[in-house]
């Protein structure tokens, strides 16, 4: 039971990270590889807001989301928009975003140094309770609730709102969206802002969950995020959610029953197996581009 809950908490963070990844892929058919740098940067900024700014983590989180949204706008404007009409736009965007992500990490190194950063111990609520014999902290529950609420909110937004309709239109047929009078650049930029805001919140929650932030935390989660969206079905929001949870659970159970050094082997091995059984991904269809 304890492992199941731990897996859920970790998995919900993976899912939140992966949903940001897959949102941009679904709309633009592009991978934004600066997303992991946003994840890391948000963790450091969140810790600074709490330790130096003296803010409560609950106040810091929305600020981190705003910070992430701004980074998303920068990524879209600096990397993806100038390259979008090139014949090799996929590859150029991929490399461009790796480059910008590297610059973000360099700025973090300059500002925060190479050491691991932590939240002050008294930043977290100390409340804990038992569920079915497992010990759960209020923080862990909050992480799960925040992730689920954000993912549900995003799913609603894409399916039902005016902005979501525009996002789906741009995803399906950018030319039709242009002719209909949609400002495709603005819809795209908004998508990046949303995606990065989610990635940023995921970074801050991850740092809270393990109470540490390192410069390399983005690259550590990058492959997991990619694996999750491939297994979930590229561009599928529910796929990213389920894929993230599976990965989180697999990791926690691997550590518990096989040993911590086997964690990645077991987790990624399971994802490979899923792909062999269902090559299009859990929620993927033959139509690749969908939000």
């Amino acid at each position: 039971m304890q492992q199941l809950l731990n897996g859920l908490f970790l998995g919900s963070i993976y899912a939140l990270f992966a949903i940001g990844f897959t949102l941009v892929f679904g709309i633009l058919d592009r991978l934004n590889l600066a997303h992991p740098a946003v994840f890391a940067a948000a963790a450091f900024v969140g810790i600074e807001l709490v330790t130096v700014g003296g803010l409560s983590i609950w106040v810091a989180l929305p600020l981190v989301a705003v910070f992430g949204a701004v980074l998303g706008l920068v990524i879209e404007r600096v990397v993806f928009r100038p390259l979008k009409d090139r014949p090799d736009a996929h590859f150029a965007g991929l490399i461009g975003s790796i480059g910008l992500g590297g610059m973000f990490i360099a700025l973090l190194l300059w500002r925060y140094g190479p050491d691991t950063r932590r939240f002050p111990v008294d930043a977290f609520p100390s409340t804990a309770f038992e569920i079915g014999g497992a010990r759960v902290t209020l923080l862990q529950v909050a992480i799960l609730v925040i992730s689920v609420v954000l993912m549900a909110g995003l799913t609603w937004l894409v399916a039902r709102s005016r902005l979501g309709r525009a996002m789906r239109a741009v995803a399906e047929n950018p030319r039709a969206a242009t002719v209909l009078g949609l400002d495709v650049n603005r819809v795209t930029a908004t998508t990046f802002a949303l995606s990065s805001a989610l990635g940023a919140v995921a970074g801050a929650l991850f740092a809270m969950n393990v109470n540490s932030a390192q410069l390399g935390m983005g690259s550590a989660i990058e492959l997991k995020g990619l694996a999750v969206i491939i297994v979930g079905g590229m561009g599928s929001l529910p796929g990213a959610l389920v894929g993230g949870l599976i990965l989180g659970l697999a990791e926690v159970f691997a550590v518990q029953y096989v040993g911590s050094s086997w964690r990645d082997l077991v987790a990624f091995g399971l994802l490979f197996l899923l792909l062999i059984v269902r090559p299009q991904g859990l929620f993927g269809s033959r139509r690749v581009r969908e939000v």
Partner: protein
């Protein structure tokens, strides 16, 4: 007569070093229906896409409703009332008919949606179904309906009869005539030149990116040399 709703002067469109449109000029009178005809590759779609802001012209001047819109983006032109029904219909197949119409009404209140449903009952009946489930003719009606809810002052139609059965083509031309009669100015671009000229008051014949003939549509149709040289291969 009042000033034309659309004036295109010396329009040039280039793709890299290839000039697809060279010095094209024409006007659409307020409340009129003007046809731009010519063979495949004559530059018709490039003209319509430049006018509607989808591509940037490399030269010339476009005036819509008295305002220079040469450099305007498509979304600001739609807001002004210059709305395109694109070639190939470009409906959003995975989205519902209702959502397609909601997107058409992006810059308006959508108050004309009911009018569109009344005009095309099949769209009303299937409003919750994916637009991709409609037949080709019905998709064309959806594309026109989607433009109508944008409340256009000028509607640009790019090859609206393409790929449709003759009976459906009749229907489409009837709808276009009704739209003009309702007060909306229309610029029609068609390969089906005879049909398009019969519907229009004025016509322009495009060949190799240039206007080679223009005048009242019935005169163009009556001129055997023009018909033989530019329109002869077109089936009715």
């Amino acid at each position: 007569m009042s000033e034309p709703i659309l004036t295109v002067e010396n329009l040039t469109v280039s793709y890299g070093r290839v000039q697809a449109v060279r010095g094209v000029s024409f006007t659409v009178p307020r409340g009129g229906l003007v046809s731009l005809v010519g063979a495949n590759g004559a530059g018709k779609s490039s003209v319509i896409n430049a006018v509607s802001g989808v591509i940037r012209p490399s030269g010339g001047r476009i005036t819509f409703d008295g305002v220079d819109v040469t450099r305007s983006a498509a979304h600001s032109l739609v807001r002004r009332g210059l709305v395109q029904v694109p070639e190939g219909r470009q409906i959003l197949a995975s989205m519902t008919i209702e959502e397609n119409l909601q997107l058409g009404a992006w810059h308006t209140s959508g108050s004309r949606t009911q009018e569109v449903y009344d005009r095309f009952p099949v769209l009303a009946e299937r409003r919750r179904l994916p637009a991709g489930s409609l037949s080709g003719g019905e998709q064309q009606m959806l594309a026109i309906g989607r433009a109508l809810v944008a409340e256009p002052a000028l509607m640009l139609l790019d090859e609206p009869s393409m790929g449709l059965a003759p009976k459906v083509v009749d229907e489409v031309f009837q709808v276009i005539e009704d739209i003009r009669r309702g007060g909306t100015s229309v610029l029609l671009v068609e390969q089906n030149a005879r049909r398009a000229l019969r519907a229009a008051s004025h016509g322009y014949v495009l060949a190799s990116g240039e206007v080679v003939q223009s005048g009242p549509a019935d005169e163009l149709l009556a001129d055997d040399r023009i018909v033989a040289a530019y329109l002869g291969l077109e089936r009715d």
